[in-house]
């Protein structure tokens, strides 16, 4: 984990807000995030999962965005959301991986609308994702494309947490594959989910997070700083 980000990111977010156009991005940047010193049991997060045509934000497209809020130690299913994003080019072969066909995606919304909704849901919340680089990379790229401005998220990455948890007290690296979302969930006895759509994966990530902080906090209380990664 990168401990340097344990400090508050608000000064930096204020700077970015000043250079962002008024609208969803500026609103998001102007809403304070939970302070790193907040007790973990009170931190508000948004578990987020993107389905994309590939792994490269510069080349690939966002197809679907799923999210569900986490309020402290409870997942608030009432705030769950899922958006299909109408792509600008054909999805074609990549449908094999994400299951989203061109036909299904034509019912989606445009990326600007999807991004605005996602930023609104993220307002005042820490971004929670499994291998968060995908989410931050694609959302950052989308902000630059649409608002010509930069964004900054406070992030908790369940994959990084899992690495830290599995490495505790051992010299060896965690076994290969054990960091993947479904393998990590298995270690906490979390149920198997059949459907792999964005919202399901976001929920799966949120549940994994609850299990991880329960494990980390056994017998003690931690603050957000202890799990914040970027």
């Amino acid at each position: 984990m990168n401990w340097s980000f344990g400090r508050s990111s608000e000064p930096r977010r204020s700077r970015l807000a000043r250079s962002a156009p008024s609208g969803p991005l500026q609103d998001y940047l102007n809403t304070p995030l939970p302070a790193p010193a907040s007790p973990l049991d009170q931190v508000r997060l948004l578990a987020l999962d993107l389905e994309t045509t590939g792994l490269d934000p510069a080349r690939d497209q966002i197809l679907s965005i799923g999210f569900v809020p986490v309020d402290g130690v409870a997942i608030a299913l009432g705030g769950a959301g899922q958006l299909l994003v109408r792509p600008t080019t054909q999805v074609g072969e990549s449908a094999r991986f994400h299951g989203l066909t061109d036909d299904a995606l034509t019912t989606g919304v445009g990326l600007p609308e999807a991004l605005a909704a996602t930023l609104a849901a993220l307002s005042g919340r820490v971004l929670l994702a499994h291998h968060a680089a995908i989410e931050t990379g694609f959302l950052g790229r989308a902000c630059r494309d649409i608002y010509q401005a930069s964004v900054h998220f406070a992030v908790v990455d369940t994959m990084a947490l899992q690495f830290a948890l599995l490495s505790r007290g051992f010299d060896d690296e965690p076994p290969q594959g054990s960091l993947r979302l479904w393998a990590a969930r298995g270690q906490y006895g979390l149920p198997h989910y059949a459907a792999h759509e964005a919202l399901t994966d976001a929920l799966a990530c949120a549940e994994l997070y609850l299990a991880q902080i329960a494990e980390l906090q056994a017998g003690r209380s931690l603050t957000l700083k202890a799990v914040l990664s970027a």
């Binding site: 799923g66 569900v68 309020d71 130690v73 409870a74 997942i75 608030a76 299913l77 009432g78 769950a80 959301g81 899922q82 958006l83 909704a117 906490y188 006895g189 979390l190 149920p191 989910y193 459907a195 759509e197 919202l199 399901t200 929920l203 949120a206 549940e207 609850l210 299990a211 329960a214 494990e215 056994a218």
Partner: protein, 620 residues
Amino acid sequence: MDAEVREVRDFLAAHPPYNALPARVLDDLPSRLHVRYFRRGSVILELGQPNNSLFILRSGAVDIRRAGDELVERSESGTSFGTSSVLSRQPSQFRLVAIEDSLVLVMPGEVLFHLLATQPVVADFFGAGPPERMKRAVAEIRGDDSGRIILKTRIADLLKRAPVTAAPSLSIQQAAQIMARERVSALVVAEADQIVGIMTDRDLRSKVVAAGLQGTLPIEQIMTRDPLTIPSSSLAFEAMLEMLGRNVHHLPVVDAGKLVGLVSSGDLMRLETANPVFLVGDIAKQTSAQRLAAITARVPRLVGQLVDQDASADEIHRLVTAISDATTRRLLQLAEAELGAPPVPYAWIVLGSQARHEHGLGSDQDHVLVLDDSVEPAHDPYFAALAEQVTAGLELCGFPRCPGEVMATNPRWRQGLAAWKRDFHAWVLEPEATAVLHAQIFFDARAVAGRTELADALRADVLAITPNAQRFLGHLAAQAVERQPPIGFFRGFVLERHGEHQATLDLKSGGVHAVIELARVYALANGVTAVNTLERLQAVAALGALGTESLADLTDAFEFISYVRLRHQARQYDQGLVPDNHIAPDSLTSLEKKHLRDAFGIVRRLQQGLAFRYQTHVMT
């Protein structure tokens, strides 16, 4: 942007009461819930803590414990808990502890109350709605089942014969002779179709014998004049109240001034069909198979009543067996009355569940004849006729013929004692597994009529050789451990995957029968004469061949599985279905499922012990 959380919706759709919600309500429900995670050992709700949430276990396991740490229930996936404190708005009387890492869906109290108010299925399920209250009230009334019948039956239904009457001028002695001949306990004294009095056994005792009165006196001197009467449309309980109020035991039944019958307190007590003593007594009085069948037709309902009254499976099995035995004996008496005395002594031997005193519902007949060795071929037509008559009678009484023809009607199973000994020796020394499998039923045998010493002699002979018949015992053990109790691991039952019994549990094969076969191997290996499964296990334990803890575990397991099976069969009978051994887990409470799982687990453990002892994996 209302997103349907499909995983949660589908999960709720698979568990009661949410599975019964209209799609619109179900689709909307997940968005009203929260998800919480509890590590193993953490407390979800503390004793005495206020609670305004319903919990639905998504994964993991949760123990619900009362003050004093008594386990009330072990929740499994799909169970809702925390209801009592939400509904009562009182501090929790339970401590909820995650015993595995658990994922829990949390329903805020206001959401639950809204569901209770708008969805009757939810109100019913949580016992908050009027239908449930009604059901409970009915169940309370049904608790006293004899009362229920007596509340419904009319006197007209009880009258079986025309009343026995006598003129007032008849002598006491003549009247007593009529009573003896007609087997009645009272005479209605009538003159020109008008009731003038009643004379009972009690009058003969107290007014004649005790007072030293002459038998030549007319009965009008001792009869009770102008007795209380009752119309045939009265309910049985009204008659009973009259009798209790006036301390009488007989009431003449009069419709429109005309005598139509006599009802006795015995008739009313016989309504308590839950008292099988009356059934057995009735059986001995019947004079035809048809009449016997009318009585045995009451057995399924009797079983249902006994189950409702929380009688143990062992008690129910013994009562049903007593009725089956009495029916068999009466049919034999009737056959002998018709065919004449048997040419040589015989013993009528029942096999299988009846022999073990474990008769339930839907059992078929299994029996053989052991004849005295003085039997000659010329005698066979007599025993063939006897067997056919009894078998046909039993069939009429609801016991289907054995599909494998293991019945006294089969000449193969109608033979002298010496021939039987040869058969048993052959089975015990038989090297073939399949032959032993078919012969198993013969090792659960009991004489119900005739010369029981013939059966005793055969049993002593057989049990003298079985303890040393290692190969025979090995085959029996291999078969006993082959029956798989339907249990996978902690959470899941293994359900029947094929055929018409899909998604049901077989309570017989891997449950009841697995225990029966275990007990049989142990009994034969130790020369135990008992045939009843529990008695066999006790005898084997008394010999030190089974640990006392295993005995207690196995006894509990057998009782519990048997009880669930009897209750299931009684319910099927109530619904007009043919009783079987396949139960849908949905019809069980989660506590029952847990007990059943434990029971199957015990059976499996003891099977493994047996497999180890007899090295069944090397048997072929």
